[in-house]
Structures are given as C-alpha cells and as structure tokens.
C-alpha cells in the first residue's frame, strides 16, 4: 500500500513539477470548449436566396414579401431571367433559387396546380436541407393563407390541421445547451487517453522502466499508480469545464451532478485502460501518438457529438457501443439537459464498467517486466 502511494506521489510530482503541464492540461481544453461551442453551431441563420419572379402578380409579390420578411433569408438578387438565377447558383452566391413561373397566380385562381421551382445548392448538405425546409414551410403557410382567402369568396371555409409543437428539454433550441456538455465530455476523455498512452512508453524510451523492472513492484501497482493521478486530472478538468459551461454558456444542469461525476469516474478508468494498453504495446512515444490518434478520431466522429448516432448505418451504430466518448456524450446530455437519473443511464454505466474491466485487465497483462 505504501508502495502504491509512493508511485502515485511520484507521478504527481512529475506532473506538477513540469510547470507547463498543469496549465496545458486545464486551460487548453477550456479554450477548446469555448471555441468549439461557439463555432460548432448547426443552426442555419443566413440563407442567401435569389428569386426570379416571372409572374409579377399580386400573389408572387406577397410570397416574396413573406420570404424576405423572415430574418433567415437574405434576398441577394431578383433577376427576370432564370438564366441569371442559375448563374447565381453556379457562382455559389445563392444557397437557394426560387423560380416563380408565369401564370402562377392565374393557374391558382383557375384551380389548376400552381407550380414553383426550388433549386438548392446541396454542397453544404445541412444548410441545404434546413434552408429549403424553412422555405417550404413559408410557402406552405402562404398556400394556406391564399386558399382561405380565395375560398372565403366562394363561401365554405375548408377545415385545416393545426400543429402546435414544443421542444422538450431545450425549449429555445439553444444549440449550445446541446453541444457544451457533449464537447466537454469528449475533451476530458481525449486528454486522458493521450496522456496515458504516452506515459509508460515514455518511461521505456527514457530507460527508467529498466530500473523499475528490477524491483519488487507488481504490475497492478505500477498500472494503478499511473492511473490514479490521471483520474484526478480528468475529474479536475470536468469540474473546471462544468463551471465554465455554467458561467459562460449558462448550460442547464437538471440532473444530479453525482451521476455525472460517478459516470465520469467509470469512464475515465475505462479510457485509461485503453491508453495504458496502447502505451504497453508500442515502442516509442511517436507510435503511441499515432495509435492514440487513430482511436481518438474514430471515437469523436462516431460519438454522436456532431452527427446523431441514430442516423448512422447499422454496423456503425454497433461500433458506438464500445466507444467511451459516445457513452460519455450521451450521459452528459441526458443527465444535464433531461435530468436523467442513475436508472436511466444504467446501461451506459454497465457497458463502460465492462470496458474498464477488459482494458485494464489487458493493460496489466501486457505490462511485462521481462522482454
């Protein structure tokens, strides 16, 4: 026990003694948290639109009026030839082109289908879907209005379906509430996995491990002694990150923070197992870096942080089960935004605990004193 405490103490002295290290480990992730949370905003606010109105009728002008009244759209051009509006799209200036053909109003009033053409620049898939979605809903509303208007003259008002929607857990659809907890979870894990992956291999590169190996130190003492300081650093970063999230972004904290910290502990142990396993299996810090990055990139991009797991193909969804970042992001969002309790995230706890056992078992087994 005394031996273990001394190994932990030694690791702490090394971390704190390296004066650049502690600020690097705490300040940099917070800078990232702020930068990413402000930047990774998928809300589409400003859609450039070009409208060719070949009808020049009351209806077409009213429709254009409704579109430009929305603060999401900026009318950048209103040419009178479709050739020119196509050019706007080709030049990448317009995100959406709306073509109103001649006889739009006359067809409508006569009871024929009135047609509109919508051309969307789909290079940016998200802006395209969201933008055309907004536009469609404006057109739909307008359609309702004019149908009612024209029907009133005839006499009978047709009945219509009214939809009232509410956004649960994030009523204002504040994108940052959604992103900050996820990004924070990701940052904590990435930091810890990189630090631990570089750790034992560093001792091997410098040669200190050779001296350590000719001592009565046991594998589990060595691994545990390295792990505990990193758990501490991960917890520290989570605390600082949550505080920053509350102060800067005012993120909601509906659920119990105990569940968040408890889950973080389990997750850190699992991730450290992965890091130390990598460290034991490679020969140089460079190799460790490359292997760690291989996993880190997969963990992040397949974590559901930026793209929902539900929209991934089935095989990719299966791959997210052993992905610690995916679980952490999910738990952070569920507990902080939704107020999920321990029972609601028990599955994440269970899977992560299994990963912790497996990877740490492998890490202890792969630490060999004899070459």
């Amino acid at each position: 026990m005394r031996r273990l405490l001394f190994i932990i103490q030694k690791e702490f002295i090394q971390i704190i003694g390296n004066r650049a290290m502690l600020p690097l480990m705490t300040i940099l992730p917070i800078v990232q948290l702020m930068l990413l949370s402000f930047a990774a905003d998928s809300e589409v606010k400003n859609v450039n639109i070009t409208i060719t109105d070949l009808d020049q009728s009351q209806f077409s002008r009213q429709l254009i009026g409704q579109i430009t009244a929305s603060d999401r759209f900026t009318l950048i051009n209103a040419p009178l030839a479709m050739r020119i509006s196509d050019h706007d799209l080709l030049a990448g200036e317009a995100d959406i082109v709306l073509n109103i053909p001649p006889d739009f109003e006359r067809n409508f009033l006569k009871g024929y289908p009135a047609k509109l053409q919508l051309l969307v620049n789909a290079i940016n898939g998200q802006a395209a879907t969201v933008g055309s979605g907004y536009l469609m809903s404006i057109i739909r509303d307008y359609n309702e209005d004019i149908r009612l208007e024209t029907a009133m003259g005839v006499g009978r008002v047709p009945s219509r379906i009214e939809v009232a929607s509410a956004n649960w857990y994030n009523p204002d659809l504040n994108y940052k509430y959604f992103m900050v907890p996820g990004i924070l979870g990701e940052l904590v894990i990435i930091l810890v996995i990189l630090l631990s992956a570089m750790n034992t291999v560093r001792e091997r590169e410098i040669g200190t491990i050779e001296q350590i190996n000719v001592t009565p130190i046991k594998s589990w003492q060595f691994i545990l002694g390295k792990m505990i300081p990193f758990v501490f650093i991960g917890m520290l970063l989570l605390t600082i990150g949550l505080t920053a999230g509350k102060v800067i972004f005012d993120i909601p904290m509906v659920g119990s923070l105990w569940v968040v910290f408890g889950y973080c502990l389990v997750n850190l142990i699992a991730v450290l197992g992965i890091g130390l396993l990598i460290s034991n299996l490679v020969d140089t810090q460079q190799q460790a870096m490359l292997v760690a990055f291989f996993f880190v990139m997969i963990f992040i991009l397949m974590s559901g942080l930026f793209t929902p797991i539900e929209s991934m193909p089935d095989w990719a969804q299966l791959l997210t089960i052993p992905n610690p970042v995916a679980h952490f992001v999910a738990v952070m969002r569920k507990v902080l935004l939704k107020g999920s309790g321990f029972a609601d995230v028990a599955w994440n706890f269970r899977v992560t605990a299994i990963m912790a056992l497996v990877f740490n078992g492998l890490a202890v087994l792969s630490y060999r004193k004899v070459s």
Partner: protein
Amino acid sequence: MNGIEVENISKSFGDTLALDALSFKVAQGERFGLLGPDGAGKSTLFKILTTLLLPDAGRATVAGWDIDKDFKEIRRHVGYMPGKFSLYQDLSVSENLNFFATIFGTTIKANYHLIKPIYEQIEPFRDRRAGALSGGMKQKLALCCALIHQPKVLFLDEPTTGVDAVSRDEFWAMLAQLKDAGITILVSTPYMDEAERCERVALLQTGKILALDRPQTIVGNFTEPLWAIRADNYYQLLLDLRKAPFSQRVEVFGEFLHLTARPATTGEEITTYAEHCGHGNILLKPAEATIEDVFLALM
C-alpha cells in the same frame, strides 16, 4: 554459496549470438569485473542476471536464487545500475532516493550507513533535479539508489562510461568500501585500465570468455617479449614494424607503439630494422604488459 553462478548461458538475437555458452562463478562478496569492448555481450548478461531477459539456454543463480524460478526474490535482493542513466530526471535527488527506498519497502534511514560515504557527496544537491546533475553526480546518485535496500548482489553496467577521470577514480574507491558490507559486485567496463580495480576479471569478446583470473595473474601469464617503441614518424613506424619479420603484433599505445616480438628478438635487431627503414629519434625500451596487451593478444 556463490554470489553469482553462470552455467552455459546462451542468448542470441536473430542471427547474432550475443552470449555463447558462458560459464563462470563469482564468490560472495567478490568484486568481479567484466571487461570487453562494446558488443561483447556485457549488457545482455546483465539483463539476464537481473531477470529482465530470459536466456535461450543454460542456467544461472544470483545469491543462490535461480534466475528463472526465483526471479521475484532476485528482484527484491539485487541492486541494478543500468548502463544508461535510468533514474527520474524530473525528480530531485532526495525524491529519487526516497522513491526507490519505498519501492523496496525500506527507508533511507534504515540503510543510511551503507550509502553514507556516497550520499554525503551529493547531499548538497539534494533538492536539485536529477536531470540537472553532472555525470559523476548522476552515477553517485544511481549507486545510492541501487544500494538503498542493502542488496546482496550489485550489478553495475558500465558505471564509469562517460564520467571524468577523477569521478571514475572516486567511484572505484567507493566500490572498494562496499567490500566490508559483504556485497557481491559484478561490474562491467570497456576501460581496460579499470581491470586492476577488480579482484577478478573476465575478458569478454563476442559472447565468449577469453580469460578469467585475477588481473595480476592474467598479466603475469603474458610471457612474450613486449617492447615500447617510438620514432619521429609514428604512423610510418607502425606500418613498417607490422611488416618486420620479428613482429607478432604491433598496437598503438599512447605515445608509444607496443611491439610483441617473436621470442629471442633482441632490442638491437629492432632498432637496426627501424633505422634501416629510415626512422630517426628511435626510442626503444622493454614494456610491462597491461590487461589491454593481453586482451589484444587474445582477440
């Protein structure tokens, strides 16, 4: 019981045979030197005896424990100083010492008597980071860390490599003091002049022992006539002597050449030959053999 027993230990890395059926014994409390050039197999032997490497064949015991079966006991009771400085450079002198004492389940206080003469020299720098110490200081700290748990056998892999002459001398003096503590010491060095600091030495070359005895005996067994010679044109003299009919070997030895002549060669014969070759200022004298002469002769 012997301090170290090695029986037919072999180890190869790929096609390279690093140790070739090596056998020797080191008595308890003996200071035993392994002499040999780089690549002779010294470090491989150390790694095998300190249980860091398994031999391909053969058996060995350290302080009576088998390196295969009793590796745990060996790790508890030996001190090892690897060839490369292997303490934590970012920990201070006292932190390093404390760390190794604790790992071995002891304290600095308990074994202070053992390291006292050495530690006193580095004590003024106890709060300095180990990485910032000079080469000689690093070696002293490493020796303290290897001794702190009162080992039965001490393995020192080239402890004086890269250390200045004064520190080297001090280091050997410290090892001599450890004799009183009854610690068996196996020490390797590439410096031939350090052989006489050991009680017995083994000359190692490409994994084989060329000679094993007390340094004086090894030198005493060298009976061939040995001459030291120099002249104005040092290099030309070397080339000329190597062609001489009476030469067995000519080696560079500081400001003199060491010439091992065939028996019954007279000094006059050599001087005449050199003069004949056109050398001036010839100085010839009989030379005392050193370990290095023996080593070069055996190679």
